[in-house]
């Protein structure tokens, strides 16, 4: 048995008090098994970021930088009144920021690549359909034709030296690409901070990196006809994975589903597929390609993928049949949910 003097006991109590007081500071700086999550409403959707293997303090800094990057993209490219994109659309031409110029240029590149299936000048058609306002009679054929004549990515001219964009009488909607661009910027911000294990999720536009406590991240793929349930659970490789579907934003009128992915060539909602999921190295590429493949029929979409190096796709066609590109199961293998 050891006996302690009063002085020793007091020293012992002082040490314990110190540990108790230091605990919040110490624990905030120790990487734990906790998954840190934060969500904000940006770019018209719920954006969630999950971080693993980092301290609370580092997670706080990561959220600050990543959401900051997303907020900047949202401010610039949302199209809200007063935003730089809105100003460009109302003036018809002008000098833009490096970031906006980059996204417009990339959007035009994907438009050319997909033969116009993805087209950032689809804004007049989206404004006509107003899907987000709920059930109402769809536009008439003359109304559709009038709006369709304002669409065409080849109208837009850009000058990289002066960052000047001339819209050629059309208007831009970057909804099919800016969210992916924002996810990429947020992911870069996290990596620059040395955070390697994370998911940036902008309403289903995902970028995944690393793992959570040694286990792979798992992602549920919504069933397009019963979106509350999963069609599959996937464990994608590091990179981006994005789904475009006809079930996320739609209304029904006289038994017909009208959704938000408009085929620029017909001025009607695209009908070949129910959902298209694309894995790619960047969220911007996955975002643009998922829209392009949704507008194209599955066969044409898969042919387009063959011409590209990297992206893979899973397509649920209009009858529910599933088509996969040859490398999809390697890029995003199916796993058990548990």
């Amino acid at each position: 048995m050891i006996t302690f003097s009063t002085r020793t006991k007091i020293s012992f109590l002082v040490l314990l008090s110190f540990l108790a007081l230091a605990f919040p500071w110490v624990s905030s700086r120790i990487a734990s098994n906790e998954i840190h999550r934060e969500s904000r409403y940006l770019m018209g959707t719920e954006v969630s970021i999950s971080l693993a293997g980092v301290s609370k303090e580092r997670a706080r800094r990561g959220f600050e930088l990543a959401f900051g990057a997303l907020e900047e993209v949202d401010r610039e490219m949302s199209g809200r009144p007063g935003s730089p994109l809105h100003l460009l659309n109302t003036s018809g031409s002008g000098k833009v920021s490096q970031g906006l110029f980059q996204v417009v240029s990339d959007a035009l590149r994907f438009a050319a690549l997909s033969g116009g299936a993805f087209d950032p000048t689809v804004a007049p058609l989206l404004d006509l359909w107003k899907i987000e306002t709920g059930p109402h009679p769809p536009p008439t054929p003359p109304e559709r034709e009038k709006a369709r004549q304002q669409v065409g990515f080849s109208r837009v001219k850009t000058d990289p030296a002066s960052l000047f964009v001339d819209l050629g009488g059309t208007r831009l909607d970057l909804g099919g690409i800016a969210k992916g661009y924002g996810v990429d910027r947020a992911s870069e911000a996290l990596k620059a901070l040395g955070i390697e294990n994370f998911i940036v999720d902008a309403g289903g536009d995902l970028y995944l990196s690393g793992a959570k406590n040694g286990a792979a991240w798992k992602v549920g793929l919504a069933d397009p006809r019963e979106p509350a349930k999963f069609l599959k659970v996937l464990s994608p490789r590091a990179g981006a994975i994005v789904t475009s579907g006809d079930y996320e934003r739609f209304y029904e009128w006289e038994g017909v589903r009208h959704h938000h992915i408009i085929d620029p060539s017909t001025a009607l909602p695209a009908t070949a597929s129910r959902s298209v999921t694309v894995w790619a190295k960047t969220a911007q590429e996955a975002d643009a390609l998922s829209t392009a493949l949704f507008v194209l029929c599955p066969e044409k979409g898969l042919l387009l993928l063959k011409t590209l190096e990297g992206p893979e796709a899973l397509i649920v066609d209009s009858s529910g049949l599933i088509f996969e590109s040859p490398g999809f199961s390697n890029a995003a293998p199916e796993v058990s949910a548990r």
């Binding site: 050891i2 734990s32 098994n33 969630s48 987000e132 991240w217 019963e226 739609f250 949910a337």
Partner: protein
């Protein structure tokens, strides 16, 4: 009177300290399927049973969320499209329902938050 302390007692200090440090991760493991419901900037964890209803306030008004037979779904919503109501029911196999206009989202995971899916492609 001098009280005595056994040397092994001293081991309790680092053990207790380590236990407290690791505790935040403990609720991520095991357990029954849970619904993580986000609304009004807060996330709440709800078991899928028993049957009950919740009213969640969003910018457009109240969204009614119902738990029934181990599944959860949005019963009524003030949003214009009502897409959230047509999304169906998320059950113990995992799934998600969301009303973006009214800023309500529900993610049902498998066994605890760490055991199910981490995100939903939608």
């Amino acid at each position: 009177m001098r009280r005595t302390v056994a040397p092994l007692d001293l081991l309790l200090i680092p053990i207790l300290f380590a236990g407290v440090l690791l505790w935040p991760g403990a609720d991520e493991r095991g357990g029954e399927p849970l619904a993580f419901i986000k609304s009004g900037g807060e996330t709440r964890r709800e078991p899928l049973t028993p049957d009950r209803a919740l009213l969640l306030q969003g910018p457009l008004g109240a969204t009614a969320v119902r738990f029934e037979k181990g599944e959860v779904f949005i019963e009524s919503s003030p949003c214009p499209e009502k897409t959230c109501i047509r999304m169906g029911r998320a059950g113990p196999g995992g799934g998600g329902v969301a009303c973006l206009p009214n800023r309500v989202s529900i993610l049902v995971t498998g066994k605890g938050e760490g055991g199910g899916v981490d995100a939903v492609l939608k």
